[in-house]
């Protein structure tokens, strides 16, 4: 793509464009470094084993983030226990059991597009009206997890569907030629083949869920003690960062420390996603 034409046209606009492109790339990279340096320099001295394992004191100015870690993990578990079966089943139906242009499929895809675009605060309002009040769960980890499940569902479905769509059509034809039932073809052929995409989507979804604040503000609440059960209110990491920086004077240091923990978790998830995808891809190529 980079070969030049024989008659090089040294027009001014060409140089302006190239300069703009390189400047943009440099400034985006520069911004990322700036952000990273700020995060590490402000948050690093707060990080210690104690910070991860102790309860917050004085509204989080001192002490640690143990209850927030526990709440975050609990909310994530509830979210994905609900969202994975729903998401994978929906994706399987959309990609294997119906035509793309069929009416229900079009309606479902449109709904998914809208659901993916609905602002997170709207999910929060919906969750607080439906799960907390109407179903009587109150401010609880369960209500937060279920609301979050609604929010990550479109991401899971989209990525799983893309993974299934990437499986070549002749694999399916081969399976039916061998007399495999559709269930067997799914179980032993299509789902294993789509596993990297499903895993990548899952990790992407976990990343989104981990980053979410607005959904959980009015569903799982912001009580900063250790949650006693899944019906107890609990504060997740992202809400903790928000509260420390907005409502607690002198909480900035602790907020940066928590943000650093959150970023490290997200980086680990990203790295894991890439590693898993690479390994699975390699294995698949060897088998095929």
């Amino acid at each position: 793509m980079k070969t030049m034409s024989p008659r090089r046209t040294h027009r001014l606009t060409d140089h302006v464009l190239a300069t703009f492109v390189w400047l943009t790339a440099l400034s985006v990279a520069g911004f990322f470094c700036w952000l990273l340096v700020d995060m590490v320099s402000q948050g690093f001295d707060r990080l210690s084993w104690d910070f991860l394992t102790s309860e917050p004191e004085r509204s989080g100015r001192r002490g640690g983030i143990a209850p927030m870690l526990v709440s975050t993990v609990a909310v994530l578990i509830i979210t994905f226990v609900v969202a994975i079966p729903l998401g994978v089943a929906t994706a399987i139906w959309l990609s294997e059991f119906t035509r793309t242009q069929s009416r229900p499929a079009v309606a479902i895809r449109f709904s998914l597009d809208v659901l993916a675009g609905v602002p997170s605060i709207v999910y929060g309002l919906f969750g607080s009206a439906f799960f907390c009040v109407w179903l009587g769960m109150g401010y609880s980890l369960l209500a937060g997890g279920l609301t979050l499940a609604c929010m990550v569902l479109p991401i899971l479905i989209r990525t799983t569907e893309a993974g299934l769509a990437a499986v070549p059509a002749d694999w399916r034809q081969g399976a039916s030629a061998l007399g495999l039932t559709r269930w067997a073809a799914l179980r032993f052929l299509l789902l294993p083949a789509a596993a990297p995409a499903i895993t990548a989507g899952l990790l992407l979804g976990i990343g989104r869920a981990l980053a979410e604040t607005a959904v959980l503000l009015f569903t799982s609440g912001y009580v900063d003690r250790m949650p006693a059960s899944w019906l107890d209110s609990g504060r997740v990491l992202a809400v903790h960062i928000f509260d420390l920086s907005m409502n607690v004077t002198g909480g900035d240091k602790a907020a940066y420390g928590t943000a650093l923990v959150l970023l490290v978790l997200l980086l680990l998830l990203n790295g894991l996603a890439m590693a898993l995808t690479d390994r699975w891809l390699a294995r698949r190529i060897v088998q095929a």
Partner: protein, 281 residues
């Protein structure tokens, strides 16, 4: 069960589960509408636009300043993020050497995954004080636009890059055969060919900017007013919901649900527009 009956059962139950996506959307609308009803049934629709201001305790619910702030912040962010996002996509697909392009793409993915509270925290402690040195109070429409632009830039860049990659190689070869410079091919052939994908990405970024809550809440200052300049504090619709939901009751609470219903309807319209574009091309 015989195999064929098991198959039919599997297909039917999967269809039911898949329908839950539609059901969920319907449920969300149902709840937004029923919760908004107390503020809508008396027929005073116009109160959301012509009351004297946003004074919930006095029953004045003028959404206009916040609606305007949301629109201005979103447009401002798009004005910055679209050219820079496109430039990033050009960089990844054409300008950069392969290894650098790969690194830059991973960087964009990382930026896309950074939580909005982290952007908000950074904006609040670094960006806002910087602006405040020049023009107090610092927490302003400008800071909201800058933070939003940073947040939606990866979306624009990654979708545009995907759209540009989908342009057939033969278009490039044709352009080269005609002796066009690579920039001309890029701007006059590849860009028009990829325009639907790019535009869909921009629409996606628009819904993200419209719906962003925490980051904007943290940097925009949250004064309910029609901004006179870029440096005035503003409060956007989403931030208003997050700030007041905790203590709102009755008509106040209902009007917060009205604003979220409004936002959701706008999202539906944007998604429908994207569908139309895709169907036409």
């Amino acid at each position: 069960m015989s195999p064929s009956r098991a198959e039919a059962w599997l297909s039917r139950s999967l269809a039911w589960v898949a329908g839950s996506a539609v059901a969920l959307l319907a449920l969300i609308f149902l709840f937004l509408i029923t919760e908004s009803l107390p503020a809508l049934v008396d027929g005073h629709w116009l109160r959301f636009f012509n009351s004297s201001g946003w004074f919930p305790s006095a029953g004045e619910f003028n959404l206009w300043p916040m609606l305007l702030a949301t629109v201005l912040a979103t447009l401002g962010a798009l004005v910055l993020a679209v050219p820079m996002g496109l430039a990033s996509a050009f960089f990844v697909s054409f300008c950069a050497p392969p290894r650098l392009a790969d690194m830059y793409q991973r960087l964009l993915m990382l930026l896309a995954g950074i939580p909005s509270v982290v952007y908000g925290l950074w904006g609040l402690t670094v960006l806002v004080p910087m602006i405040a040195e020049v023009a107090p109070p610092g927490a302003s429409l400008l800071s909201a636009i800058l933070i939003l632009a940073i947040m939606i830039l990866p979306t624009v860049a990654l979708t545009s890059d995907a759209a540009l990659r989908a342009v057939p190689v033969s278009y490039w070869r044709g352009g080269q055969a005609l002796g066009l410079s690579s920039q001309t091919i890029l701007l006059k052939i590849a860009l028009p060919a990829a325009r639907t994908g790019i535009f869909t990405g921009i629409l996606l970024a628009t819904t993200r900017a419209l719906g962003e809550t925490m980051a904007v809440l943290m940097v925009a200052g949250n004064v309910v007013q029609v901004p006179g300049s870029l440096l005035d504090s503003v409060r956007v619709l989403t931030a208003n919901i997050a700030l007041e939901m905790a203590y709102a009751t009755d008509a106040h609470k209902a009007s917060l649900y009205v604003s979220s219903l409004l936002l959701t309807l706008v999202v539906v319209m944007i998604v429908a527009l994207g569908r139309r574009l895709e169907a036409r091309s």
